[in-house]
């Protein structure tokens, strides 16, 4: 860490650390949290799509049942 850099420096350049990286804050926790968020949001989307597919499957089953009933009635009538 250097003491001369200004907020503006931090906003315009990223530089590689020389030697060992000294962590004064829990940057690792923030990084892992951010990384976890990406996967949690993605999994939430997968669950949402799954729910949509389930609703579609129910509607398809309803339609199939109605068509089967109509075909059976037609057969009965000759």
């Amino acid at each position: 860490m250097t003491t001369q850099d200004t907020p503006n420096d931090r906003a315009t350049t990223f530089q590689a650390v020389e030697g060992n990286a000294g962590e004064h804050y829990s940057g690792a926790t923030l990084l892992v949290s951010a990384y976890a968020v990406v996967w949690v949001v993605l999994l939430a989307w997968v669950a949402f799509v799954w729910r949509k597919q389930s609703a579609l499957a129910t509607r398809v089953e309803d339609l199939e049942r109605v068509l089967d009933n109509a075909a059976a009635e037609r057969q009965k009538r000759g």
Binding site: P7, A11, F14, Q15, E23, L31, S33, Y35, K52
Partner: protein, 242 residues
């Protein structure tokens, strides 16, 4: 037979895209966590940057898809164009949520606060809310022609804010970093640049997968709705029978 073979080709392309995305994500994780150096002043938290910025880029892809689908729908209303617009809005919301949550986690370290009403953050939040409104409209206002046209107009208006987000830092200043748009770029190490490019590739592939999967699902939903309407026209009510 031709349509079956077309479906199989489409499936094969989709699975190939899934495979490419999986490989890209594994490579990206290695690049970010094993190869890219720790940033000198901010430390390890700077690595959020490698998927925070691409997540906003994914949001732009979704928003652009929503715009294209919406504009196309207003020109000629087809289920496919409407489905593409809806998939785009959903993709924009998913990636926007990632960006809105990962950004403050970086900000708390860089600025000492999770949120500030900076022009970039505020316009990004507004854009995200427009696409949330689009999805709420599509979920609760029915799926008729009028609702679809209204949503298409919203999808076009939503895209208008994208350039404002992009140029907000240059136009109004604020605290948001300009590492990517600064002259010559602010990534001072080649491995940083590589990890950053990898992030863009991963999120582009992911956005493409989401757009394809959701568009296809919406097209199937539209076809089913028409089949249900046909059944009702034939005197077969799909809702009342048990």
């Amino acid at each position: 037979m031709a349509s079956v073979s077309r479906v199989r080709r489409g499936d094969a392309a989709f699975y190939a895209l899934v495979g490419a995305s999986a490989i890209a994500f594994v490579a990206e994780i290695c690049l970010v966590f094993l190869r890219a150096p720790v940033e000198a002043r901010m430390g390890i938290v700077q690595k959020i940057f490698y998927f925070h910025v691409p997540s906003w880029y994914g949001m732009y892809i979704g928003a652009a898809a929503c715009f294209v689908g919406s504009f196309g729908y207003l020109v000629r209303d087809t289920d496919g164009r409407d489905a593409f617009a809806r998939a785009g809005a959903e993709t924009a919301v998913v990636f926007g949520a990632m960006g809105l949550i990962t950004g403050p986690l970086w900000g708390v370290k860089a600025w000492g606060t999770f949120w500030t009403w900076d022009p970039r953050l505020t316009t990004a939040l507004l854009s995200f809310l427009i696409y949330v409104a689009y999805l709420v409209l599509r979920s609760f206002a029915g799926d008729g022609g009028g609702e679809r046209r209204f949503a298409a107009a919203l999808g076009i208006l939503g895209a208008a804010i994208l350039p404002i987000i992009h140029y907000s830092v240059q136009l109004w200043g604020g605290q948001h970093p300009m590492v990517v748009t600064g002259s010559g770029g602010g990534l001072k190490h080649p491995d940083m640049k590589l990890a950053f490019a990898g992030g863009f590739l991963c999120f582009t592939l992911l956005a493409a997968l989401m757009l394809i999967a959701r568009t296809r699902l919406e097209i199937v939903a539209s076809r089913l709705r028409r089949a249900e309407e046909d059944a009702i026209d034939l005197g077969l009510d799909t809702r009342d029978e048990t």
